[in-house]
């Protein structure tokens, strides 16, 4: 078991191993996404109150879930790099940032499109929207910090510290924003007490959530492989790979 992880951390083994993985992940992603979209957009019945508008949920909700998940991956791999100095962990962490930022952006845009007919406005300073926006800023800050430090090792470690500070802060930001929101919202507004959802809508939602996960992993692998080649271009295996 441990031996496998040790092997995985070696760039050459990872490069070979991931090439096979990407192929299968891509197929799984396509199947999941196609079936999820079909069930969600065609088969699932319209909502009793929101009619067809709610269907944007099948993109919006998985994207919002991913925005948090990717940040966690980014911070954890950053910590691994900080503690054990594993280069591969750093490359993964680095590849996460733009992906996470894109998911966050997607969640914000779809939420905004959803909000127009439902709430009557493109944007409300709702707790979730606001904390999602700040999360986007955190991603952008992470990317900006990395881009402005020239030395790659220093950049990776500084970025990891920032990501970890962000991990401590995200729950605080989330709570503060949620609380700040209740200061203004009406007391009798029906709240997110028990999010109940009918099975016919839950299944496509879960399918889409898994599709987003596998999509993320496969794109992450592609990005990681490219960055690996860039960083290891002097080593013999990378040269062999490049001259193919």
């Amino acid at each position: 078991m441990w031996q496998f992880f040790h092997k995985l951390a070696s760039p050459k083994f990872f490069y070979d191993f991931s090439s096979r993985l990407i192929f299968w992940l891509a197929i799984v992603t396509i199947i999941l996404m196609a079936s999820g979209l079909y069930m969600g957009l065609v088969e699932a019945p319209p909502d009793y109150q929101q009619k067809d508008s709610y269907r944007i949920m099948f993109i919006h909700v998985p994207a919002a879930w991913m925005s948090m998940f990717v940040y966690m991956v980014m911070a954890i791999t950053g910590a691994i790099n900080l503690i054990w100095r594993i280069k591969l962990a750093d490359i993964i962490s680095m590849s996460c940032a733009p992906l996470g930022a894109s998911f966050t952006f997607l969640a914000l845009v779809t939420g905004s499109i959803w909000g127009k007919p439902m709430w009557g406005t493109w944007w409300v300073w709702d707790a979730r929207l606001t904390s999602e926006l700040i999360l986007l800023f955190l991603y952008l800050g992470y990317m900006a910090l990395r881009a402005s430090i020239e030395d790659k090792t220093n950049a990776s470690r500084a970025a990891a510290v920032l990501a970890l500070v962000g991990v401590v802060n995200i729950p605080i930001i989330h709570y503060s924003v949620e609380w700040w929101n209740t200061l203004h919202q009406g007391p009798t507004v029906t709240k997110f007490d028990k999010p109940s959802i009918h099975t016919s809508m839950l299944i496509p939602l879960l399918l889409m959530a898994f599709a987003f996960k596998t999509y993320f992993v496969s794109v992450l692998l592609v990005r990681t492989r490219t960055e690996l080649l860039v960083r290891e271009f002097r080593s013999s295996w990378a040269r062999k790979e490049l001259s193919k």
Binding site: Q49, Q50, Q185, P187, T188, S196
Partner: protein, 151 residues
């Protein structure tokens, strides 16, 4: 215990104490009264300054919605099940606006206790289900569609 270890122990204890104190303070914060909104009752009691922009939260009273002839200006009442406040709003109401729906209105209270709204926001609930299921639920009386939950 050698002095170096002792020192390290002191730092660890300090960190744990700091985090613990912060957690305790946060728990205390959460136990505090969180009623921070303006309710119709508060307006009825005259607790709100006139001409001050506020956010009013509540439920649209059943049977109170009335449209003026220009087709844009609407009148309705917002209630918190104890008091009602009449609201006037000129503009397009959001899709989810209906009687019995929880809304937030941003505006000012005028001299005759009328609330003039500049903006009306409706909140959707987090129940997603097909219309048939909703009907069935309503028939069985398990759930009334627009029952506001006091929060």
């Amino acid at each position: 215990m050698n002095p170096k270890r002792k020192k390290r122990l002191i730092y660890v204890v300090l960190i744990v104490a700091g985090v613990g104190a912060a957690a305790a303070l946060m728990v205390t914060a959460f136990q505090q009264n969180m009623m921070y909104f303006i309710t119709p009752t508060e307006i009825a009691a005259g607790a709100v300054q006139q001409g001050r922009s506020i956010r009013l939260g509540g439920v649209v009273s059943e049977g109170s919605l009335r449209r003026e002839n220009d087709g844009l200006t609407v009148h309705f009442k917002v209630t918190d099940n104890a008091n009602e406040v009449p609201v006037r709003y000129k503009g397009i109401l959001p899709d989810l606006f209906r009687e019995g729906q929880g809304i937030i209105a941003i505006g000012k209270v005028t001299a005759d206790n009328l609330f003039v709204a500049d903006e009306v926001l409706a909140k959707h609930d987090e129940n997603y289900m097909p219309p048939e299921v909703m009907e069935a639920l309503e028939k069985s009386g398990a759930k009334s569609p627009h029952k506001p939950e006091a929060k």
